[in-house]
Amino acid sequence: MKTNDIILQTATKVAVFIIIMFAVRLFFSGHYFAGGGFVGGLITSAAIVLIMIAFDLKTAKKIVPINYRYLIGSGLLVSSFTGLFPVLIGKPFLTHFYSYYQLPIIGKTSLHTATLFDLGVYLVVVGVTMTIIQSIGESE
């Protein structure tokens, strides 16, 4: 039976964009305001879940062609590399560095290696959440 969900699907096309922008904002504001990698990852996976509900798993795989199990591994790799990098130059494990740079459009910005660690957390959270939901949703 074919069903007609045009209101839900059109609302999803608008809402997913807003939700992902909110997730990116939460991710980057984690150092100074509320937010961070965990909430950003959860909200990103909420957007992907919304696509899965409004369309189906096949379409969601076509829209986001990522194997989420690889996402877990790459997130762990990014985080552990951020932790191991100071050891290579003779500092304690998980030492973070930061400095101020003059970026083209944004202006004076503080770039911190804690963001890379947070990126790893973000990737792991998205990967774990989507793996759980996808494998539960696929089983008949």
């Binding site: 069903t3 909110f22 939460l26 509320a34 937010g35 509900i53 189906d56 798993l57 379409t59 696929e138």
Partner: protein, 94 residues
């Protein structure tokens, strides 16, 4: 004075949440309960906004948007479960 107005508004929203809780518990059909839960989520957003005015802080403004998104997704998931019996299907054109 301003604080008293906010407190009165909080009391009114709490009363409406109690009424919605009655509908969640009593509601004869499941869609009644789902809609009551959705409206409770929206009322919770109002409570958070009023409390962040009361505490004079910007720290909870993300929570407002977050609860809006979560209430939307949760209600849609419930609605799809009630309509089709499964929330995430593999191929909807089958």
């Amino acid at each position: 004075m301003f604080q008293i107005i906010i407190l009165i508004a909080l009391a009114c929203i709490s009363l409406s949440m109690l009424a919605l809780l009655y509908r969640v518990i009593k509601g004869p059909s499941i869609p009644d309960r789902v809609i009551a839960l959705d409206a409770m989520g929206i009322n919770l957003i109002a409570v958070i906004a009023l409390i962040s005015i009361l505490l004079d802080t910007y720290a909870f403004l993300e929570v407002i948007l977050l609860l809006g998104i979560l209430a939307f997704i949760g209600t849609i998931a419930f609605a799809k479960y009630l309509e089709k019996g499964e929330i995430i299907e593999y191929d909807r054109n089958k």
